[in-house]
Amino acid sequence: MTHQHDMRPIQKHPLNVRIFHYILLLSFLPLAATGLLLYFKPLSQAGMQLTYDIHIIAGVVMALDAVAFTLMAFDRVVLFVSRVFSFSSRDVKWFMVLGGYPQKFLLGKKVPVPPMNKYNSGQKLFGACVLIGGTILILSGLVLWLIPHAAPRDVVYFLGQAHLISGLVLTAFLPVHLFLAVYRFDDFKAMMVHGNVPYHDAAEYTPLWVEKEIVPVTANGEPATGK
């Protein structure tokens, strides 16, 4: 018996989100690497200076990316905030089995997982950390770079600590994010290439999203709002 997958494409990540994500990726990776170098200081004076310069340039790119996306796609930002800060008993149940991933990887067992919306509970936690941590990193980074002499000394120290902790937390998330992103390959292709996931993938991992928010599109690409 052959099993046919429903391959009809659902748009998951629109073009503006993908461009934002690409610039975020290209700026955050050097930021994380140079941030660790700046913290541990293993290089010579000239090497550390170059590291600092790269950190600043990548930081400015990330800040501009975030500001531009917030201004130009405010609706996406609001939807993202709404999603990552929504919480229900499903999230508790999801965290109790950790999305079924450890059982799948370590024991080769499939356990029942509560139905998820566009993002699962782990992605929501990560999203909230990126949103809050990213904002802290950008704002504190600007102060530490531009006006450490003018700001009060205790505030500069506090912002330095906040910058360090946020940076370490987000850097710690990075390998987990990269691994799971590649593991969910349909979603990976959607974010990195064309924006679409096949219907069967969305129905398996994000059934609530398909059920509640997905509608067929009309010929010109607009959602046919029929609710």
Binding site: R8, P9, S82, E213, P216, V217
Partner: protein, 105 residues
């Protein structure tokens, strides 16, 4: 690029207008609060220096003796011992001599 590469998409209006505005406003407020906190800190960064300056001026204004040459002890010194201000003895006793000790080694 093709005009439409997908058959399904998110319904743009799945969030009600009221909820959209509430979340948007909460997001803007969450950004504005730390910025406001920091700018007020920045604005008030020299307040303790200003307060100290003000205190010193206040002490000065209420002081009995406001100039050193009206100090009775100084007057007594010149009258009974030092002679004239900037005189020879006062110069010898009160002026500091500089010795260059930068090349001791």
């Amino acid at each position: 690029m093709s005009k439409k590469s997908y058959l399904f998409a998110e319904d743009s209006f799945f969030l009600s207008r009221r909820k959209f505005i509430a979340i948007g406003a909460a997001f803007a407020a969450a950004l504005a609060l730390p910025v406001g906190w920091f700018s007020s800190k920045l604005e008030r960064r020299n307040e303790y220096i200003k307060a100290r300056t003000e205190g010193l001026y206040k002490d000065d204004a209420i002081a009995k003796l406001r100039v050193s040459h009206a100090n009775p002890a100084v007057e007594k010194y010149y009258k009974e011992f030092g002679g004239q201000p900037l005189g020879h003895l006062s110069h010898d006793l009160l002026h500091t001599h500089f010795v260059d000790r930068t090349k001791l080694s």
